[in-house]
């Protein structure tokens, strides 16, 4: 990705509801083959944060992350999904820095890495795949049950609103965001699935039909600390009226995804929960 203009235009009235200049600096990672980086950056800006481009080959990842308050690993086909979705990106030097900043994976038998004091990290779609490959989150993604790429507006239930990325939602709230993937079927062994359910780590669940065969209708999960979240559908495509999914208010007016980004901005502003 070429450098983005990440500054908010200093116009408009930010004193009331709406975007607030919070000073939250949120990194958006670009690997070769990343596709939704510009969308994720736009979502951060619309949520009142500052989006900071993060290049996968950043020579000093730890230094780059030190000035950031959160990181988003966006969707796409990093390294062409060669070998397996996320399998190569996981070995980018920047990922080591992200894993460390999120709290590491040491001592986690089920891959539930991270720590409460760790950097908030969100992986969307291919980003989620990279997080499971990195063992920050457990489980894995295989091809959709239909074996086809599927793009549709998808209803999700927010099961856990205690994470850094979901605190602006109410528990049980249903939101509509676009889903688009080829390898979106979430799988894990029964023990891991039971643990995710038992500890309330299932963060988003598909409602109104399981689009890809994911175990227990899981669309997104978090780690125990709540700073790392992986999500298969795309909240960054539902942040701006006119360009999101259809909603009750009208065509393409859906902005349910914005809550993910305002949540992390609020988490940053309000400190750890």
């Amino acid at each position: 990705m070429t450098a983005q203009n990440t500054e908010l235009p200093l116009i408009g009235d930010y004193s009331t509801a709406g975007p607030v200049l919070t000073g939250a600096r949120i990194g958006v990672v670009t690997f070769p083959g990343t596709l939704d980086d510009r969308d994720a950056a736009r979502a951060v800006r619309l949520a009142g944060g500052e989006a900071v481009p993060l290049w996968h080959a950043e020579p000093d990842g730890a230094a780059a992350l030190s000035s950031l308050d959160a990181v988003i690993i966006p969707g796409g086909f990093s390294y062409g999904d060669y070998l397996r979705a996320g399998a190569i990106a996981r070995f980018a030097p920047l990922m080591d820095a992200i894993i460390a900043a999120a709290g590491g994976t040491a001592g986690n038998d089920a891959g539930l890495g991270g720590s409460a004091a760790g950097l908030p990290v969100l992986g969307i779609c291919n980003g989620f795949q990279i997080l499971t490959e990195s063992h920050l989150l457990p489980g894995s993604m295989i091809k959709n049950e239909s074996l086809k790429f599927l793009c549709q507006d998808q209803v999700l239930r927010v099961e856990n609103n205690a994470t850094a990325w979901t605190r602006e939602f109410s528990a049980g709230e249903e939101i509509t965001v676009p889903l688009k993937n080829q390898d979106g079927q979430y799988v894990a062994d029964e023990k891991t699935l039971d643990r995710l359910e038992g500890e309330g780590l299932v963060t988003f669940r598909y409602v109104g039909g399981n689009p890809n065969g994911s175990r227990r209708d899981i669309a997104g999960i978090t780690n125990a600390a709540g700073n790392v979240v992986g999500l298969m559908p795309h909240p960054e495509h539902a942040v701006e009226p006119g360009f999101g999914p259809d909603s009750a208010a009208g065509m393409r007016l859906g902005t349910d995804g914005l809550g993910i980004f305002t949540s992390v901005v609020a988490s940053i502003a309000g400190g750890a929960q």
Partner: protein, 778 residues
């Protein structure tokens, strides 16, 4: 010579009998395989005349591919000329780059420009549907990048054989997965297209691909090699043996038994390589590191070197052993002809070489410096220092053969025109009762051509980029160009092969009329046209007549509507044996929005409850070539009347109504007529409507059946808020455009109700409409 990576193949792989220019001059009588490479005798003789000697094997390879129909337009040049001749000053005012470059460029204002082009990838998609369709996307996207633009959207007009033919399983699954697999991986939203099923395309499916790109005026790049001493660089994927036209012929020339004898004629795509190439090129443009750029598509290095040199002022010198190869056994001729994907060639000022290499390193893209621009006016290609090509590049790229092929009106055309649907056996016993009309609407909406195509479009990413304001199934695809102002573009593609079969001249005009209408219906102002002319063999005088008539019709219509053709593509020889496809001129119209926020939805939203539904335009008894006639197995007569003045006026009214907030929904009438348009508007958001046909029947003198299924042109349906009705009526009255208030949007009804005829619950309609594609394709 510097290369991006080490590329010295082992010595034993270079044991070719290199046919140098020197060798050619001294061996005039060596038999050359020009016929196998597709050259005609007169063409080969012309090459010998131009060179003053026999061509070398490498030169023969270049001339044969560059003089092919696909690259040279030799059968259509004399006709395509009309697109350039029928241009007014007004049509040229926003045209920054016209026909002849990789893609046309249109000024959007505010320093922005848009480039778009449609191309065919028909034959490869039949042979190998997945890769054929995938590389179709790849090729058109590289055309867009070549102009200095960021690609922002793709579209795919598709035509398949019969839906229930067993081979359609292979072709449909493969093509759709290929388009999705490649396009989705590039991060380009797929915003529309069309899908038609007709047995006429059984052995010749049409896979057309359109791409749209946007650029700042200062980023515009052209394909020319200028500036003596500037460096020539080839970058992107390595060159392999895929896509070589006459590979077996050339391979047999090398007398080398160790090399693979069969190579795929269809190119293999790697979308990841293309995505990286896109970002890499955009960074080159942003930093002004290339003087000229050309993508490698058909005819590969032959095309890129000869076109760059021919468009420039001087000549070019290239060392072919510096090309990075996937297969070190390739001969010079094969390297020149290879159509390996994801490659670009650029002209770089020596001062920028280091910066260029830094960009390549950032994106991990391989490159090799092949040579430089010279002042010799010759394209000279060497192999290990020995000259194997020494030609005037213009004779290869631009001054190829031109044929004014004979054509005549088909002997059966009069009989075809006389075979009116109403008078045919198929036209007897037309549905008249409410129940029969209801059943016919269900049958129509479940038919292969009218049914829900979300089985296809849900395999494409329409969201990526965050700028998609409208996508299939809306009338046009709409993308935002400028996030600050909302400036954006709309694109729609259309063609009706049945209409064009009945009347090739009118058929091409009707294709333009519909795409123009679709763009205007979305609320955008039509600005430019790109066309993909899919026809049979030009060597058949009757097909040639269809083609000549199509080009004449389209160019006349563009002149009348005042929008220029900015580029496109001709695809010929789409026929199986002596049976050509229907002439299928796919026309893409591009329109402009000052603010995409005012695009008009194509269906009734619940928010539009109680709004008045108006039918704009006049309904005539026009069923020849219609979807209804098609359902009854009839094709004859004359297509609907073309009325471009009415189309233009309708367009202006729709655009004004959208801009001034007079309408909350609009949908054009085309295939399937009013019945299809109403059904689609109701299905879009699942909101019903109550309409009456009385006023149309009375005013236009047609019966209920004709009112519902006639395909008269220049019509649209709109939903008008109560508060806007007076203004809307005043506007249409002042412009003398006929409108009829036929009903209201009715959320509570949950149905499409045609008063005194039938009531069709939306869920029943949806089940019929949505069930067809999954029934055949799973």
């Amino acid at each position: 010579m510097t290369t991006g990576t080490q590329n010295t193949p082992p010595a034993d792989t270079r044991q070719f009998n290199i046919d140098t220019v020197e060798h050619a001059a001294t061996t005039p009588d060596i038999e050359l395989p020009w016929a196998e490479l597709g050259l005609k005798q007169n063409e080969f003789e012309e090459v010998v005349k131009i060179l003053g000697r026999r061509p070398t094997a490498a030169e023969l390879a270049m001339y044969s591919v560059m003089w092919s129909e696909h690259c040279s337009y030799k059968s259509t040049k004399v006709h395509l000329r009309q697109f350039g001749e029928k241009l007014t000053e007004d049509m040229k005012k926003d045209l920054m780059v016209g026909i002849g470059e990789n893609a046309g460029v249109t000024n959007l204002g505010d320093g922005w420009a848009v480039t778009f082009k449609i191309e065919s990838h028909n034959s490869p998609s039949f042979v190998e549907p997945y890769q054929g369709a995938a590389t179709g996307i790849g090729g058109i996207v590289r055309d867009i990048i070549s102009m200095g633009a960021r690609p922002v959207a793709v579209m795919d007009p598709l035509r398949f054989g019969a839906i229930d033919h067993e081979d359609s399983q292979r072709v449909v699954h493969g093509v759709v997965a290929g388009i999705g697999g490649y396009g989705n991986s590039l991060g380009l939203p797929n915003i529309g297209g069309e899908t038609v099923f007709d047995p006429i395309y059984q052995g010749n499916p049409l896979v057309n691909a359109l791409a749209v790109g946007v650029l700042r005026h200062e980023d515009l790049r052209l394909a020319n090699a200028s500036g003596v001493g500037n460096k020539i660089v080839l970058f992107g994927a390595r060159t392999g043996g895929d896509g070589i036209g006459g590979a077996s012929v050339l391979a047999s020339e090398s007398f080398d038994d160790t090399k693979p004898s069969k190579r795929p004629a269809v190119q293999v795509g790697d979308p990841f390589a293309e995505k990286v190439l896109i970002e890499c090129c955009l960074e080159l443009f942003k930093n002004s590191l290339v003087e000229g750029i050309q993508d490698l598509g058909a005819a590969g290095i032959s095309c890129a070197t000869s076109e760059l040199a021919s468009n420039g002022e001087g000549g070019m010198q290239v060392e072919l052993t510096d090309v990075l190869l996937r297969d070190p056994t390739l001969t010079p001729g094969e390297i020149l002809m290879s159509e390996s994907q994801e490659r670009m060639m650029a002209v770089v000022n020596p001062a920028n070489v280091e910066a260029f290499e830094a960009v390549m390193a950032t994106w991990g893209v391989e490159y090799s410096w092949l040579g430089e621009v010279t002042d010799t006016n010759r394209l000279i290609i060497t192999w290990d220092g020995e000259t194997i090509v020494d030609v005037d590049p213009k004779t290869v790229a631009h001054d190829g053969p031109v044929y004014d092929r004979p054509y005549h009106r088909p002997a059966g055309q009069d009989a075809l025109e006389a075979d009116r649907f109403r008078d045919s056996a198929a036209g007897a016993d037309l549905p008249a009762s409410g129940d029969a009309l209801r059943a016919t609407v269900l049958e129509l909406m479940a038919s292969p051509n009218m049914c829900d195509k979300s089985w296809i479009t849900s395999q494409y990413d329409r969201y990526v980029g965050g700028n998609t304001a409208l996508a299939a199934p809306d009338d046009a695809g709409v993308v935002r160009v400028d996030e600050e102002t909302g400036l954006g573009v709309a694109v729609a593609t259309d063609a009706n092969g049945r209409y064009a079969f009945l009347d090739p001249y009118a058929g091409a005009q009707l294709a333009l009329a519909e795409s123009y209408r679709n763009v205007a219906t979305s609320g955008a102002i039509p600005m430019a046209v790109s066309d993909c002319l899919n026809y049979g063999s030009p060597e058949d005088p009757e097909v040639m007549w269809q083609l000549a008539e199509g080009i004449r019709g389209l160019s006349d219509a563009c002149l009348e509507l005042g929008i220029p053709v900015t580029g496109g593509n001709v695809s010929l020889y789409n026929q199986t044996g002596a049976n050509p496809i229907h002439p299928t001129p796919v026309v893409a119209t591009l329109g402009k929005f000052d603010d995409v926020g005012r695009r008009t939805p194509s269906g009734f939203h619940a928010e539009a409850d109680g709004q008045a539904v108006y039918l704009m335009g006049v309904t005539r008894d026009e069923l020849d070539g219609s979807e209804f006639a098609n359902l009854r197995g009839h094709l004859g007569g004359v297509p609907p009347q073309v009325d471009l003045a009415a189309e233009k006026l309708l367009g202006e009214l729709l655009i004004n109504a959208s801009r001034d907030g007079m309408i909350d929904a609009a949908h054009d009438l085309s295939e399937g007529g009013l019945a299809a348009a109403l059904s689609e508007m109701v299905l879009r958001f699942g909101v019903g409507a109550r309409v009456s046909l009385d006023e149309i029947q009375g005013r236009d003198g047609v019966d209920a059946f004709t009112a519902l299924f006639s395909e008269s042109q220049a019509r649209a349906l709109v939903a008008v808020p109560r508060t806007e009705e007076v203004r809307f009526k005043d506007m249409t009255t002042a412009r003398r455009f006929p409108v009829a208030r036929i009903g209201v949007v009715d959320v509570a009804s949950g149905a499409l109700e045609v008063q005194d005829q039938f009531t069709l619950p939306i869920e029943e309609l949806r089940a019929a409409w949505a069930g067809t594609m999954p029934k055949y394709f799973g």
